[in-house]
């Protein structure tokens, strides 16, 4: 159920290069929030479209989102201060299917794909699983949320340039740990997701991926955020699902890579 809530900003701070963690009072949205869902936030008067931002965590009626400044809209959002009010639609989309994760799921985030994995990993832990995280960043300045993940379970951090943690990609670390995994959940750039999906498939491990696409309404009416999917029952051809409503989380075997 989608709701429009006017949310008071509680805090907004830069936690990495161009990366902001915004906390807002969102009692209604917090009650609805499922791991892997997103909210759609109005970002200033001049920008017609809202900005879709994944939910990083919810706690006591407060919602935390982490976003990267990419254009005018997110720049505006980065300047919101305590007491400002945001127009937020949520909670949107289908998140991760938690009941399919088993005892030892691995959560993988790449860059700005890291934040939604936090709430997801927390939910898995609360369900009694022993979760593990693999987080990939471009470089040391982009590393975010490491401590929060470490509190939930074993966490591996890697950077593309080796300036922090393991030098290499999340897939390098995944290959070392994949045997013990009961499921994989991932969010990040498409090439990363594709590589993870290949490893999961080769090992026969279920894999859910959170996809991204340019979005309009955010609720499934305008049909712009198309994601190419395979036809059901192995038939030839493709169909378009929509990231905002059918996703953002898809089974990796559904996606046309």
């Amino acid at each position: 159920m989608a709701t429009q809530e006017m949310c008071r900003v509680v805090g907004n701070r830069e936690i990495g290069a161009g990366l902001f963690e915004l906390t807002m009072e969102a009692p209604v949205l917090c009650m609805q929030a499922q791991p892997g869902q997103f909210v759609h936030i109005t970002c200033g008067e001049g920008n017609l479209l809202r900005r879709p931002i994944s939910i990083c965590n919810v706690q006591d009626g407060q919602m935390i989102v982490v976003f990267q400044v990419k254009g005018d809209g997110t720049a505006w959002l980065s300047k919101r201060r305590e007491g400002d009010v945001l127009d937020v639609l949520g909670t949107l989309g289908h998140g991760f299917r938690m009941e399919e994760l088993g005892d030892h799921p691995i959560f993988i985030g790449g860059g700005i794909g890291v934040p939604p994995m936090l709430m997801t990993m927390r939910a898995a832990k609360e369900n009694g699983a022993k979760p593990e995280a693999i987080l990939g960043f471009r470089n040391q300045n982009a590393v975010i949320l490491e401590d929060a993940f470490r509190r939930l379970g074993e966490t591996h951090v890697c950077t593309d340039d080796g300036s922090y943690g393991v030098h290499g990609f999340v897939t390098d670390v995944l290959k070392l740990h994949v045997q013990e995994a009961t499921a994989i959940c991932a969010c990040g750039p498409k090439p990363m997701l594709r590589a993870i999906a290949e490893i999961a498939e080769a090992q026969g491990i279920p894999c859910q991926v959170s996809m991204e696409e340019r979005m309009g309404c955010g609720i499934g009416a305008c049909l712009v955020c198309a994601c190419e999917l395979k036809l059901k029952d192995g038939q030839e051809g493709v169909r378009y699902g929509h990231v905002c409503k059918d996703g953002p989380v898809f089974d990796s075997k559904e996606v046309v890579w």
Binding site: A2, R50, R214, V238
Partner: protein, 301 residues
Amino acid sequence: MDLRVNICGVELKNPITTASGTFGFGHEYGEFFDLSELGGVGVKGLTPTERLGNPAPRIAETPMGILNCVGLQNPGIDRFIEEQIPFLRQYDTKIIANVSGNTVEEYCGMIEKISDADVDLIEMNISCPNVKCGGMAFGTQPKMVEEVVSAAKKYAKKPLIVKLSPNVTDITEIARAAVASGADALSLINTLLGMRINVDTRRPILSNIMGGMSGPAVFPIAVRMVYQVRKAVDVPIIGMGGIRTGRDIAEMMLAGADAIAIGTAMFADPMAPVKALNELKEYMIQHGIEKVTDLTGAVEV
């Protein structure tokens, strides 16, 4: 206060409808407001069979506007009739079925089929800029408009609205051709053909290179075209293009619209139609207007 408007014998409880292609079949926005608040629902454009649409990216942004190249993704007319009409009929609102075809024959077949279904008005889309065949190609030349509208009209058992493209030199010429060929009403404007380029990658943002522009940025163009068409023909006009507020509705009606449609504004605020309706009522009280129909064409030039 009387908000009722009449489009070819079909009474809408208020002049507010939704623009085809922005509203799906009403399920999504129905979570935000009661669809019975609307005068009418313009549904996603239908084609004879299912259409997948274009690959992503299908949307680009521009100040106070968007460009889209969805490409008429829809489940096909049969599934609309079977699955969606029963859903929409739960609400006290009029159904405006929007249909497209690749050929004159396809338009005729669509209109014959939809005429026998439980819809109130038929909107014939001869102005979609995002499909290779048909669509806008039909709506930009008076001869083509005459051919497709006069053929389709023979199959229409419900009032036939023809949706016009703004991507023409003289919209009045197209409007006259449509009305002379049997259009019972006109709707305008469809989107304006536009393009955006990512200057970092030097590639177009939209998968289809070009796309249809909509949103508040196009509103003055829509007002101008409705004004011109109002003077050129004498059939009901549904005005659309960038409407957001109740005062925008008043402006569009003063220019000559009998009813209006809201589209892109809902992407910014899902409650836009309901808010606009309340603002329209406030405007009418403020100006002592008893009947909303008194606004139509009442611009003083």
